[in-house]
Amino acid sequence: MRRAFSDTLVEVADVNDKMVFLTGDLGFEVFTELEKKHPTKYINAGIAEAQLAMCATGLALSGFRPVIYSIASFMTGRAFELIRTGINYQQLPVLIIGAGGGYTYANSGVTHHAAEDLGLMQLMPGMQIINPGSPSEVRELMLQFFEQDKPAYMRVGRFGEPEYTAKDPIILGKARLVSEAKKQVSKPSVALLSTGDTVISCIEANKLLKEQGFDVTHYQYHSLSPFDVKTLEQVLSNYDHVIVVEDHFPIGGLYSQVSSFHAGSNSSAKLTRLGPPHELLFGEPSIAQLREQFSYDVSGIVSTCMALQR
């Protein structure tokens, strides 16, 4: 996704002379092409997340389309009030990028954990929240961001996440149907809701489940705000079980959105959440260990679904 992000920046800069990219001293050799092709549009502001947000405010007030970039925990946490007051209060079309959201940097310790990034940004009314799960989603959603004029936060994962195919196209603010279970095949009926890179584990899990004769529907929520309530309403009324798989605290992410909507609906669907707990995670685990421990890896998703059949 990082590569897709830097490639898309160049693609945007080629056609949109208002795009300016500011990094908080992050991205070794990632933005070389942008810097080479558009030297005035690449600025290393130093390790100064507050300054990134304030400078982006001034640029956007002057008609530019700034993109600011740092590690997710610092970009959202350190600069929160500057984003809130400068960018969001004035509804300026700034794209705020959190690199390595969730537990991408799990083994770098708590300083680098960003399991609250989506929640922090989502608390602000008017802020769009984008959590892509593949290089194509990064590209498409970025291009769509530049077609409108509201602020957005986008989490960008690591390098090398795979592409995947889905039934639905990628549309900002719309849930994306990845695969649909054949009706009446599996009882109980189950829908998986992924967000960000948990889409990949869900696809893998779905394959294994199919091999065992368990057909599961899967939607990817790459946008948490605007939130696709319409699709959620259908999911909650059509399925017995809805399983949210997220790399975020249970507060402020996809599960929060789903469960608060569910609470106010007449749905009898049972909600399950797979993801990290609302706890400080010491001990510098690997991301794979974490996902296994809290059952949001492939085998955790498979076993959770299988258990529903018993």
């Binding site: 005035t40 300054q51 304030m54 400078c55 982006a56 001034g58 640029l59 007030l61 002057s62």
Partner: protein
């Protein structure tokens, strides 16, 4: 020049006092101290409208709470109706107790949260450079506001990127909400600190028009540095002294208001 501007400063002070009384809102000391600087900027120095040479100059009030003086300047220069001053700080007013661009679009930016005006100015300056245009960009900051860490990120960025059309004025009235500025920063010199960041610095009496004019005329020759003016200020009314934090919050009583107007020998503009 001086006597005309002096009269104007007295009138603007009287107007701020009335706004505080009518709007039942404090923050008087935050507005009264920098009135001479503001009058010089709006009546003598800033280009207030774009022309064939380029865009208008920009003024950002970073210490947003001291906004009654800015509203007076905007009204006196014809940017907002004079009558709107009577609505200052009232519920639903366009002239809020912190400047809101959503309500008052002629502002360069909303302000009210300290330590942000300089950083916003850096973005405006960068946008001008990318657009091939340039204007003066003046930011008025409070001395207390200089406590904010974000200011020092901006000072560094502005110098590093040679955004030399930026001029920061620090309203050094010596007092913060509940303390003495010098004591809070351990007696460290603001001028030395800003100079150490590579900025051109001057320290002046911010209530003295001759010194203000001299400082701004010196800026014309400084092309290779961003610029800061540390303007030591007083509130300009004898019983309102800057030693007391009282006037950060207080609204003048009837007697205080009458005596201030008599001392200023001026009437509000609304």
């Amino acid at each position: 020049m001086e006597s005309g501007l002096k009269r104007l400063a007295a009138t603007w002070r009287a107007t701020c006092l009335k706004m505080s009384r009518v709007g039942r809102h404090g923050h008087l000391s935050s507005s009264l101290g920098y009135i001479e600087v503001l009058a010089f900027l709006y009546k003598r120095w800033l280009k207030l409208a774009p022309d064939s040479e380029g865009p208008s100059d920009k003024f950002i009030l970073s210490k947003g709470h001291g906004c009654s003086a800015l509203y007076v300047a905007l009204a006196d220069c014809g940017f907002i109706p004079v009558e709107s001053l009577s609505q200052y700080a009232k519920p639903g007013a366009q002239l809020g107790c912190h400047p809101c661009k959503h309500a008052l679009n002629i502002l360069e930016t909303s302000s009210g949260s300290l330590g942000q005006g300089l950083g916003v100015a850096s973005g405006i300056a960068l946008a001008q450079r990318l657009s091939g245009e340039q204007s003066k960009i003046v930011i008025l900051l409070g001395d207390g506001e200089m406590n904010e860490g974000s200011i020092w990120e901006s000072l560094t960025f502005i110098k590093a990127n040679q955004l030399n059309n930026i001029i920061a004025i620090i309203d050094y009235n010596g007092v913060q909400a509940v303390g003495n500025t010098d004591r809070i920063v351990g007696g460290t010199s603001l001028e030395k600190k800003i100079a150490a960041f590579g900025w051109h610095t001057q320290t002046i009496d911010g209530n003295d028009f001759a010194q203000i004019e001299d400082a701004f005329s010196q800026l014309e020759g400084v092309l290779d540095q961003p610029k800061a003016i540390i303007a030591h200020t007083r509130l300009g009314i004898d019983y309102m002294n800057v030693e007391s934090a009282l006037w950060h919050y207080r609204i003048p009583s009837d007697e205080e208001y009458d005596s201030a107007l008599a001392q200023l020998d001026a009437e509000p503009i609304f």
